[in-house]
């Protein structure tokens, strides 16, 4: 079985258990246990290959471009971890079979459990730092699922979320650190990184990488100041705690520290960061553990404390300490897993985990009690148990360390103190609940658990004993194999023995035990009299509160930010967009002064300036009035348009001016016709303008003026420079020789850019049809149908046509008689004018577009003055046919050129002499222009018709119901 197969095995098992029946406890446990056991056996069989410092590598290419390969790499240290992960995993599988209740969905538990085992193996086996981060995050995610397994408990959900937030965030920090390391080394491969220790330590970015990696490790291993998530994670089922929070997940942090020990250690940064965190966690965790009343919380804080010890050992920058750290990882995993299981058994059998209620259980469950006692002895560091050995090594290191004097004195003191605390909480766990008067008020009557449930605990406790009694035979070779890669190949001198002679470490151990017993008795007497039931002093400022208040602060900040950077009001959104755009432009222009160009200026005249002032006033007025009075706004827009037309005229562009003029007229009239059908503005008289409104408007005004001035300045600066290259000379030069006309604009429309024009008139036709289609089903609201306000206020007895127009039948015969007559007289004139424009268009201002609009205006006036019925009763306009004919004509003209062998839309100008008329200038483009003319007439009239027909329709029912409209 290759390493990859070994890695995939738990995941495959996870999938398998996921699909098994969810209540089949035994089958599931057997399946999961078998997977774990097979994996463990395979790991054991790897031992010969790694025993003497060998490394097994397997690689599969993943994202080679980023230097990401799937590399599995097993050395002694990884092997030792893999052994812990698989063996304890197998034991917990067995244990969980009896622990989980028949009502729990066990399939999910085992699926997650095996997935976690796989993720953990992935972390351990990773031969690539990025891959390590991937599995690292995966363990966080799966642990989230496992902690939240009893999802109906709010504690479980919150605890799971907190654990994931902290460890997930730490994982991101680690990712950052790994990236920096990869940047320094140029590779993410673990072997390469491990070989570049000196390079990394001397690099300027070393502190950055170090801090990020250490933050990742500390969050995972629940080290101060990130320790708070672990006690909350105790909401998980006990098998989960026994596995994740003793042997595996929390060990991942220290695993990482050990893994990178040869690369990162040996500096002041490393020493202070890790020793600081480790020492404070060691002491703090042990201190808080003494005051806990929940069995699992005692163990949780003790775990925190022990991990602090391991961190501290790695932080000491001494190979011997590192070996001790590795040793303690193994020992702690063994005794802590058994303790968690014991706690679970007690909980399972008695129904409570409260130390204050549990007493004298030895009588009813002697086997459990004995095992728990031995295991807590190991935790306390009692001689002849494994915990004693590694603790002894730590004491030795603490005493013989050469460093700053305060450290030299402080560390042994701290170590002894932590030892005292450890004895106290071990006694509370192991002694208090099993001895004394048996409790009588337990939720369940306690008895021994099933034999198989105790087997895992027995095995682990036996391991503790064997290691403790005969360390050099039992664990010696394993420790050597595991510790060698950590310290970089050369093991320091050490002796694994129970008796080291009478020295300072032994004195410290004895002091700790004696002090612990005394302290326990003292604490018990206080607690019996109702004092010291809560952790003094430290309860106040723990990380959990910081975390929660951090979240609250973040939420509050977010609320404030929400108000500041987001608004649902369009006005504010628009303000920001314009403001920031202008700001960006200003920033970009910083330091580069805007100077005017040196193009020759035209002399300004008073009349022209005045004209423009009028135009601008009209434009601003239109913008302001758009909100308050649509009619006025439309009129003012017309004024601005007129000024534009005049400007064109001023600069000798009569053709443009003419076009602009007629376009203005048509659009204004259509606007006015359309306004008729818009609902009235809703005006709320109770809403008064407040100071706030005024400030906001003033602010908006400032921004508008600023933005406008800025854009105007840019435009002006541009206009004062000679244009780099202009296309106008091209057209001016070629209009007559190649297009055959002197009106350049028209020649461009019908000849040079005829293809565009065909497109445009098609669009125009389509737009007209769309307007028609959209308005076809439109029914004006009732309030738009009635008489205008001004006419309604008249007394009803005034009967003249002028003041009571609706009384007369037909508008054209009534008060509109005079203008209607004039308009009718205008009709033939406008035809003549249009024909004139059309015919001379090729050489003089005019053309099909203008001509079409002139005709359209003539018809519009008929509609306006005489009414729809009258106008349509006398003329059959058929706008769609105009459009169709126009398009056909334009297309045919173009195709005509193709027929005689020229490209599409080539124009030919014929000159011939007719009697009476004289020389005639007849370009083929004339027919094209005729097509344009027809389309423009048709399109305008069609839009007109669509609007005008509203007046002869039944209006909407007075109480409109939204539902009926939608259906």
């Amino acid at each position: 079985m290759s390493l990859f197969a070994l890695l995939l095995l738990p995941f495959a098992g996870s999938l398998l258990t996921a699909v098994l029946p969810t209540r089949a406890r035994t089958a599931l446990a057997a399946c999961a246990g078998l997977v774990a056991a097979v994996a463990a056996a395979r790991v054991v069989s790897l031992y010969p290959q790694i025993r003497d410092g060998g490394v097994i590598r397997e690689t599969v290419s993943w994202v080679p471009s980023l230097g990401l390969d799937l590399t599995l790499r097993v050395d002694g240290f990884a092997w030792m971890f893999a052994l812990l992960v698989t063996v304890i995993g197998a034991l917990v599988c067995l244990y969980a079979r009896y622990y989980m209740s028949p009502d729990d969905p066990v399939a999910r538990f085992y699926a997650f459990f095996l997935a976690f085992m796989g993720a953990m193996l992935g972390v351990v086996f990773s031969g690539n730092l990025v891959q390590l981060v991937v599995f690292w995050e995966l363990t966080s995610v799966v642990s989230f699922l496992l902690i939240g397994y009893w999802h109906h408990h709010v504690d479980a959900r919150r605890g799971a979320r907190m654990a994931l937030t902290v460890t997930g965030a730490g994982g991101l920090a680690l990712l950052g650190g790994v990236l920096v390391l990869g940047h320094i080394v140029g590779s993410y491969d673990l072997d390469v990184v491990l070989g570049s220790g000196a390079l990394i330590r001397s690099h300027a970015l070393y502190p950055v990488a170090l801090v990020l990696v250490v933050v990742g490790a500390l969050t995972k291993s629940a080290q101060f100041p990130f320790h708070f998530w672990l006690p909350r994670a105790m909401a998980a089922p006990t098998p989960v705690s026994a596995y994740l929070h003793s042997a595996t997940m929390v060990k991942a942090g220290v695993f990482l520290l050990a893994r990178l020990w040869p690369v990162l250690s040996g500096t002041e940064w490393w020493f202070w960061l890790l020793c600081g965190a480790g020492a404070s966690t060691l002491l703090l965790g042990a201190f808080i553990a003494m005051f806990q009343n929940d069995l699992k919380r005692v163990l949780a804080f003790s775990t925190i404390s022990h991990l602090g010890l391991i961190t501290l050992l790695f932080g000491l920058n001494s190979p011997l300490a590192a070996v001790a750290g590795v040793f303690h990882i193994m020992n702690h995993a063994t005794f802590k897993a058994s303790l968690f299981m014991a706690a679970g058994i007690v909980d399972h059998e008695t129904g409570t985990r409260d130390i204050r209620r549990l007493n004298g259980l030895m009588r009813s469950m002697p086997r459990t009690g004995t095992l728990a006692l031995v295991a807590s002895g190991a935790m306390a560091g009692v001689p002849l148990l494994n915990g004693f050995l590694s603790k002894e090594m730590f004491f030795a290191e603490a005493v013989f360390l050469t460093a700053h004097p305060t450290v030299e004195v402080g560390l042994p003191l701290l170590a002894t103190l932590a030892g005292v605390f450890a004895v106290v909480y071990s006694l509370r766990f192991g002694y208090e609940i099993f001895f004394g008067e048996p409790s009588t008020d337990l939720p369940r009557h306690p008895e021994e658990p099933p034999g198989w449930m105790l087997k895992p605990v027995e095995l682990l406790v036996v391991a503790c004993l064997v290691v403790g009694v005969a360390p050099s035979i039992s664990i010696g070779p394993l420790l050597a194999a595991a510790a060698r890669p950590v310290v970089g190949g050369d093991l320091p001198e050490y002796h694994l023995a129970v008796w080291h002679g009478f020295g300072a470490p032994l004195v410290m151990s004895l002091l700790a035990i004696v002090g612990g017993v005394v302290g326990y008795l003292w604490l018990r007497s206080h607690q019996r009299s109702g004092r010291l039931n809560e952790t003094p002093f430290f309860e106040r400022f723990n990380g959990r509160r910081l975390f929660e208040s951090g979240l609250v602060t973040a939420t509050r900040l977010a609320r404030r930010a929400l108000r500041l950077v987001s608004s649902r009001r369009l006005q504010a959104q628009m303000f920001t967009i314009i403001g920031v755009a202008i700001l960006l432009a200003l920033l970009a222009a910083r330091g580069v002064p805007l100077v005017w160009g040196d193009r020759e200026r035209l002399p300004a005249s008073h009349e022209f300036v005045l004209l423009w002032v009028i135009g601008m006033v009209c434009a601003v007025g239109a913008a302001v009035m758009a909100k308050f009075h649509r009619l006025v706004a439309t009129t003012l827009m017309g004024g601005a348009g007129l000024v534009t037309a005049l400007t064109f005229l001023w600069f000798s562009a009569p053709d443009l001016a003419l076009t602009q003029l007629v376009v203005e007229v048509v659009t204004t009239i259509l606007f006015l016709l359309g306004l008729r059908w818009l609902p009235m503005r809703l005006h709320d008289p109770s809403r008064r303008t407040t100071m706030r409104d005024r400030v906001r408007r003033g602010r908006d005004l400032l921004l508008a003026v600023g933005a406008g001035a800025g854009l105007a300045a840019l435009s002006y600066a541009l206009l004062t420079r000679p244009a780099p290259q202009s296309i106008s000379p091209f057209f001016l030069d070629r209009a007559l020789p190649e297009g055959g006309g002197t009106n350049v604009v028209n020649v461009m429309l019908v000849d040079f850019r005829a293809f565009d024009t065909i497109g445009e008139i098609t669009v125009l036709g389509a737009v007209a049809l769309t307007v028609y289609a959209l308005l076809r089903r439109f029914r004006p609201p009732a309030e738009s149908i009635g008489r205008p306000q001004q006419q309604r206020v008249l007394p009803s007895d005034v009967v003249t046509d002028l003041v009571k127009p609706r009384a007369t039948g037909e508008r054209a015969g009534g008060y509109m008689m005079v203008p209607a007559t004039i308009a009718r007289l205008l009709l033939p004139f406008s035809f003549v004018v249009a024909a004139h424009f059309l015919l001379r268009g090729h050489n003089e201002p005019g053309g099909g577009f203008v001509a079409g609009l002139v005709v359209a205006i003539a018809y519009l006036t008929q509609y306006v003055f005489s009414g729809t019925r009258w106008a349509e009763g006398r003329a059959h306009l058929l706008p769609p046919r105009w459009i169709a004919v126009g398009l056909l004509l334009a297309a045919t003209t173009g195709l005509g050129a193709v027929a005689v062998g020229y490209p599409f839309l080539t124009s030919h100008t014929a000159h011939f002499t007719l009697p009476l008329v004289g020389e005639v200038h007849l370009p083929s483009a004339m027919f094209f222009d005729l097509g344009v003319f027809a389309v423009v007439v048709g399109a305008t009239l069609l839009i007109l018709t669509a609007l005008a027909h509203q007046s002869i329709r039944a209006h909407r029912p007075p109480a409109p119901n939204k539902r009926t409209e939608a259906s």
Binding site: S61, W62, V63, P64, S65, L66, L68, V133, V134, E137, L138, V141, H151, R157, A160, L164, T165, G168, A169, L172, A173, L175, G176, L179, V180, G182, H183, V208, L551, A554, T555, L557, A558, A561, L562, V565, S566, R568, L570, Q573, M574, T576, I577, I578, A581, L584, A585, A588, A589, V592, L594, G710, L714, A717, L718, R721, A723, P724, Q725, A966
Partner: protein, 477 residues
């Protein structure tokens, strides 16, 4: 223009023709399923034209458009996203029981066409054309359902704000042209790098162009429209808006910057860096307190654009690869997320409030699992596409040693994990009284399954995609 040019333009032409055919088919008979099928076939036809176009690529067709592998990859991506949108919209439109549901598909096709033009554009004119074609169709798509005022409000807001931003963009382009006399990206870059422009005109002009493009990308501080529009638009349209519309603008910007020879100038780095950091911060902080999933995803999209900009700022080949990877991952994730939102809608309202998702794991385990996958991918958790995307962004940032941006990215990712998980936790909470669930229609179900496979597949086995992207990136730079 000759035959080869037409082959190169094949995908665009097919897409345009598909829009016309769809429109005509509606004129013949209104039938939603038939129209959706025609539109879908049109997209497939356009996709089928891709290999032929790839054979003649790279090819500059007129000054406006360049068909190369880069463009074709993005076109393929947009076509796929549009296809997904149409499949999801089929379900959404049926549920809404609106009259006139068929034109929706024409609009999707047109908007996609605009996006494809953007991906191919090498000229400010085609840039603007593509942008507007894509946007104008979107205005209508956002406001498509006529029940209730929220849709209309969203559409109107988008219209007005996009109009304002387009005005800035256009003014900037006009200034660039007037000062440098070039509108093609290459000509513009050559003139600019030769120092021919007037700094006082060109730089503000470019700032305005950036502002206009930033609006489309919804980068903070141009992001305010996002939550409103995302929430107001129907869920499939939101997905489309979040993916195709933004991706297209990014593609065009990439081209522009490649033409400019990267983003070496400090002022450019500072501008985009600042935009990136504000986007990340603003998006994530806003997302923290959202009570609506669509608004939450909207805010998170602001943050994600910030991450993309970090990748964008790296040197050209890395940036191309990283941005494209990020976009693909983001497309898959976002479409899947909005797909779930779409199929969860029931009765006459969408599943939008977070409360609608309470206990989803126990009511709709598959959909909940997929949504969880999407959220984890957005959070950048390994084994999802999002992780590698984020990793690419980080690697791009570190390769240029932009530590401030890298730190901002990491911190913001941590921040974002919190609100994504809040949704996951809500889904895992005990279920309230179960509302009668709608069946997931076959088409949408298949689509979601494919997206789910991609979501995990890209995270586990990214090599194929990486190779593809790498090939296109070398084609462009």
């Amino acid at each position: 223009m000759n035959g080869t040019d037409l082959v190169a333009l094949g995908p665009l032409l097919a897409l345009g023709a598909a829009a016309v055919v769809t429109l005509l088919s509606i004129a013949v008979r209104r039938h939603q399923r038939a129209t959706a099928t025609i539109a879908g076939l049109g997209l497939v036809a356009a996709a089928c034209a891709l290999p032929a176009a790839a054979d003649v690529a790279p090819r500059q067709v007129t000054a406006l458009v360049r068909i190369d592998d880069f463009a074709l990859l993005y076109i393929g991506l947009f076509l796929a996203a549009a296809f997904a949108t149409i499949v999801l919209a089929h379900d959404d439109l049926r549920r809404r029981a609106e009259p006139h549901r068929e034109e929706f598909h024409v609009l999707v096709l047109l908007s996609t066409l605009g996006a494809c033009v953007l991906a191919t554009s090498t000229h400010f004119a085609s840039f603007f054309l593509g942008l507007e074609t894509s946007s104008v169709a979107l205005y209508a798509l956002i406001a498509y359902p006529r029940s209730g005022p929220a849709h209309a409000e969203a559409g109107l807001k988008y219209l007005l704000l996009a109009g304002a931003s387009s005005a800035f963009l256009l003014f900037g382009m006009a200034l660039v042209y007037a000062d440098l006399g070039a509108l093609s990206f290459d000509g513009f870059a050559a003139a600019l790098l030769a120092g021919r422009g007037t700094p006082a005109l060109v730089w503000p002009a470019l700032a305005l162009v950036v502002a206009g493009a930033s609006f489309k990308l919804a980068v903070a501080p141009f992001h305010m429209w996002v939550p409103d529009v995302y929430q107001g638009a129907p869920a499939p349209v939101t997905g489309f808006l979040a993916t195709v519309s933004k991706g297209a603008v990014l593609a065009a910007l990439l081209r522009l910057f490649v033409a400019l020879g990267g983003v070496e100038r400090p002022v450019v780095v500072w501008t985009f860096g600042a935009l990136a950091v504000t986007s990340m911060l603003a998006g994530n902080l806003l997302a923290l307190s959202q009570r609506s999933l669509k608004r939450l995803l909207a805010c998170s999209s602001v943050a994600h654009l910030g991450y993309v900009l970090v990748a964008f700022l790296a040197a050209a080949p890395v940036a191309l690869e990283a941005v494209t990877w990020y976009l693909v991952a983001y497309f898959v994730t976002t479409l899947a997320a909005f797909g779930v939102v779409t199929v969860l809608a029931g009765g006459d309202r969408e599943a939008d409030a977070l409360d609608d998702y309470r206990g989803l794991f126990w009511r709709r385990p598959w959909l909940a699992a997929l949504l969880t996958g999407c959220l984890l991918s957005l959070a950048g958790i390994p084994l999802t596409a999002g992780f590698l995307a984020k990793f690419y962004a980080l690697a791009a940032g570190t390769s240029e040693a932009r530590w401030a941006l890298v730190v901002a990215l990491v911190v913001n990712s941590a921040l974002s994990a919190f609100y994504y998980l809040r949704v996951v936790v809500a889904m895992a909470a005990p279920a309230p009284a179960a509302a009668p669930a709608r069946r997931v229609p076959l088409g949408a179900g298949v689509l979601l399954a494919v997206l789910a496979l991609l979501l995990v597949g890209l995270g586990v086995y990214p090599a194929a995609l990486t190779a593809l992207i790498r090939a296109t990136a070398t084609a462009l730079s």
